[in-house]
């Protein structure tokens, strides 16, 4: 059986590519050795956000009294780990089933097993040959192991976290990026003692420094200890030794940087210095007709970018004109409050020397935010002074991760601050802060 496209890995890069391939009439197979949906569905985006939602619910219910609800007693509330986990599993189950049926509906063959690329440019699964005109590697990534000196520590990666039956008291999270901050906050919200260790110089790389300051302040006010730029030295008697300190640690959550999962290949695949599959701008690897998308190419570690790459690559194979622009996509943090950023950071704008303007509007002046009881946050819009082009938008708000989509649309159509200002927003909504920031950019915000 010869396929037009064989995709290895059914995460957000692979399964989206497969659906798209089926839609445009390519004969397609997808090979997965574990779970449809990959990291995103099973241990990443979806289940962690589901857990966070449970934790946020706990936090919100604690304030029920303020909203005029009697009978809810904060001291009686507690977090049920098993129930929250079960809820997240149900969501994952529904989504996985949905993707499964979409793959089938679009005529995609789902093959279970581990793929190997043969010297004959075919894919082998359990020694069964699958001929392919095009191969797409979308095998993703896995966390780098912790230093050997910490081998005796109670380390969990995300996959194992979901296998835990209970969560102990003293949690140490290590990691430099968004997911580490999210998980640190999660454990704090469910009442644990949390330390966040960012062990590289690149804490929150790519995030605007203004937002990083917001985050670190927030962590501090939440009583989450943040330790920057230090790597844990050893683990002894339930404590982590770090920079002359000892930190109680019953669970060490490893959210450190990730490494590529490279499939076995009889034709050697060229790798980057960092060990990811080297690809051209077209996502083609060193082997003609073999492409790599998603985490395994090391170009980004975000599900929505992986999916966009999947669509792009199929269009390219099918000969449908399309372009891939990964410069304008939102970075979301599902923290409390949520944080979202899109476009250029202020530091980048300065570096490239654009004459810019920042317009800010606080949530404390927004009616809907008061109604919802979440006035913590702001919008920050960066625009160029000459034409008023929107260069970047940053939002801190309870639902910032959804609100940022409007900014994506603005930036995608190269909107100017005038367009933002003259877009009528319904009242009362938190999104009104866009309009206010738009006016503020060239004139004056109305409500501040």
């Amino acid at each position: 059986m010869e396929y037009d496209v064989v995709i290895i890995g059914a995460g957000p890069a692979g399964y989206v590519a497969a659906i798209r391939a089926g839609q445009v009439g390519l004969k397609t197979a997808i090979v997965e050795n574990r779970h449809i949906g990959g990291m995103c569905f099973n241990w990443g985006c979806i289940p962690t956000k589901a857990l966070l939602e449970s934790a946020k619910m706990l936090n919100k219910v604690k304030h029920a009294d303020e909203f005029g609800i009697d009978g809810v007693f904060a001291h009686k509330l507690s977090f049920n780990w098993e129930k929250a986990k079960a809820r997240s599993k149900r969501i994952t189950g529904k989504l996985t089933a949905g993707v499964n049926s979409l793959l089938k509906k679009n005529g995609v063959e789902i093959i279970t097993g581990t793929a190997r690329i043969g010297s004959d440019h075919s894919v082998y699964v359990d020694n069964v040959k699958i001929s392919a005109k095009n191969i797409i590697i979308a095998t993703g990534s896995k966390p780098k192991a912790m230093n050997n000196k910490l081998a005796n520590a109670p380390i969990v990666e995300m996959e194992k976290l979901f296998a835990l039956e209970s969560i102990p008291e003293n949690i140490v999270v290590t990691g430099n990026h968004v997911s580490a901050v999210e998980m640190a906050q999660f454990f704090k919200l469910i009442g644990k003692k949390v330390t966040l260790i960012a062990n590289s110089d690149y804490f929150m790389v790519g995030i605007d420094e203004y937002l990083i300051t917001t985050i670190t302040k927030k962590l501090k006010s939440d009583n989450i200890d943040l330790i920057l730029n230090v790597y844990p030295e050893k683990y002894e008697n339930g404590e982590i030794y770090i920079g002359g300190f000892k930190i109680k640690c019953d669970l060490l959550v490893n959210l450190n940087s990730r490494k590529a999962v490279i499939p076995e290949s009889e034709i050697p695949l060229e790798l980057t210095d960092r060990g990811f599959i080297k690809t051209a701008n077209s996502f083609e690897t060193s082997i003609k007709g073999v492409y790599a998308i998603g985490d395994v190419s090391g170009k980004s570690f975000v599900a929505h970018i992986a999916s966009a790459q999947g669509i792009y690559i199929i269009n390219t194979i099918k000969g449908i004109k399309s372009s891939f622009d990964s410069t304008t996509y939102p970075i979301n943090m599902y923290t409390v409050p949520e944080i979202a950023q899109i476009g250029m950071t202020e530091q980048y704008i300065k570096e490239v020397g654009i004459d810019y303007k920042i317009s800010e509007f606080p949530l404390s002046a927004n009616g809907k935010a008061m109604i919802e009881g979440n006035t913590e946050g702001f919008i920050r819009m960066l625009s160029d002074k000459k034409y008023g082009q929107v260069l970047g938008i940053q939002i801190v708000a309870a639902n910032a991760t959804d609100m940022i989509a409007e900014a994506s649309a603005f930036m995608n159509v190269e909107a100017t601050v005038y367009d933002v200002a003259k877009t009528i927003h319904a009242h009362p909504t938190i999104s009104e802060i866009y309009m206010e920031a738009g006016f503020e950019a060239f004139d004056h915000a109305i409500h501040f």
């Binding site: 000459k386 034409y387 008023g388 082009q389 159509v413 190269e414 909107a415 100017t416 005038y418 367009d419 003259k422």
Partner: protein
């Protein structure tokens, strides 16, 4: 309703003009045909009249600024139709049907205004709209991002000239950045780079082309590529013409007019054209027809420091020798002072080029396309001639006639030339015609 009036293509192949003077101000009520602005191009200085009556709501460009053809000049709020209504209508119906206003008759616009139908429907309600001429296909509003529009306005680029590369052909920031009015293809750019390498820096001096040089280059090349040139050489003995000129020199100068040989040649040419209409015509291959001109508008090539310009003596057949002489002086002076108006330059039907006044004998003149012929006039030289079987000293005028061989056969060209020679050698005959 708001109407954006773009700098029209005023002909002559010029792409831009400089604002010399605004006649109107923001808020001023204007009539159709009223001059808006005085513009200078490399060839001419001309007034641009308003195509519409209304109130000026915006003026683009200040004195001294260069405006490209197709870029906005003014925005006019047209009387009787209010912005909001017009916008509401535009949204409901096809653009052409919404037009409540008809193009005013006789709204005199210079030159080839018909070509200037590049006025765009702009996007947002407050950004105005305009209408295409009834006979034109409706201009489709180009899709562009708000940023691209802002940039195009700022950079004076007609966004409708840009091919968008965004989704559904949308013009993006990148398209504006990549747009070069001179449209160098990548190929040309590479070739330029290679040439630059080949020539060491001190061996040459680079200077940008002037507008007039670009226009001349384009017109010359177009002529050579579009016509089948054929040139005929003749010599004519003009001793009689010389003595007549001597005789009339004084009465002419009393009327402040210098009498040269050129007025006689204009006259001879007009009379010959009357009898050989092929030479006063143009060919219209697209429509399989000839276009014979019923007017005798003689264009005269004038050498100026900036380059060649070709003003026109209109209806030369109706002018006396004196009037022709006066017209030639007037046009030459205007050409050198760059005071020619567009009207002075258009509608020529046949061209004379008097290189002899500088020194040439024969030449192969390039036809002033789409005309059918051009007569080159050389320097008068004294030469031995045979008169009544006697060798004599003759005054010989060399003539070079280039014709478009697609229109004019060799025989016809010779007959036309003979006629001119006949008139020049026997001027009295010409005066009798």
């Amino acid at each position: 309703m708001r109407y954006i009036f773009n700098f029209p293509d005023i002909g002559e192949g010029l792409e831009e003009g400089t604002i010399l003077e605004w006649y109107v101000t923001k808020g001023q009520v204007i009539k159709a045909g009223q001059p808006l602005v005085n513009m200078e191009t490399d060839k001419i200085v001309t007034d641009i009249p308003s195509p519409k009556a209304g109130t000026i709501v915006a003026i683009y460009g200040s004195v001294g600024e260069t405006i490209h053809v197709g870029s906005p000049l003014v925005e006019i709020e047209i009387e009787g139709v209010f912005g909001a209504e017009a916008v509401a209508e535009t949204k409901e119906k096809e653009p052409v049907k919404t037009e409540a206003i008809e193009e005013e008759e006789g709204a005199g616009v210079v030159g080839t205004m018909e070509l200037a139908g590049k006025n765009a429907y702009l996007a947002a309600s407050d950004e105005g709209s305009s209408k295409p001429k009834a006979e034109e296909k409706p201009t489709v509003k180009v899709q562009a991002t708000p940023l691209a529009r802002a940039m195009a306005r700022d950079l004076n680029i007609d966004i409708n000239r840009i091919i968008g590369t965004g989704p559904s052909g949308r013009v993006t920031k990148e398209d504006i950045e990549n747009f070069k009015p001179t449209k160098h293809t990548q190929d040309q750019t590479q070739r330029l780079a290679i040439q630059d390498q080949a020539l060491s820096l001190d061996a040459v001096t680079y200077e940008p082309l002037s507008q007039i040089r670009k226009a001349i280059a384009r017109n010359m090349l177009n002529s050579k590529q579009s016509t089948a040139h054929m040139t005929l050489f003749e010599e004519v003995e003009i001793s009689e013409l010389i003595s007549i000129r001597e005789k009339f020199k004084k009465p002419f100068s009393e009327k402040n007019t210098k009498l040269t040989y050129l007025p006689f040649i204009v006259k001879a040419t007009v009379e010959a054209l009357k009898q050989h209409r092929q030479l006063n015509s143009q060919i219209d291959l697209e429509n399989d027809r000839m276009i014979f001109k019923n007017r005798y508008n003689i264009a005269i090539a004038v050498d100026t420091p900036e380059g060649l310009v070709v003003p026109v003596i209109k209806d030369a057949d109706r002018l006396s020798l004196l009037q022709i002489a006066q017209k030639i002086t007037e046009l030459s002076d205007k050409a050198r002072d760059r005071k020619l108006t567009l009207d002075d330059m258009k509608d020529g039907t046949f061209t004379l080029t008097n290189y002899g006044s500088i020194g040439g004998i024969f030449a192969t003149p390039v036809i002033n396309y789409p005309q059918a012929g051009i007569l080159g006039i050389g320097r008068i030289v004294k030469k031995p001639v045979v008169k009544d079987n006697q060798l004599a000293v003759g005054n010989v005028l060399p003539l070079s006639l280039s014709v478009d061989h697609r229109i004019v056969d060799g025989g016809e060209a010779s007959r036309f030339m003979n006629k001119i020679m006949e008139y020049l050698s026997d001027p009295v005959l010409m005066m009798m015609e």
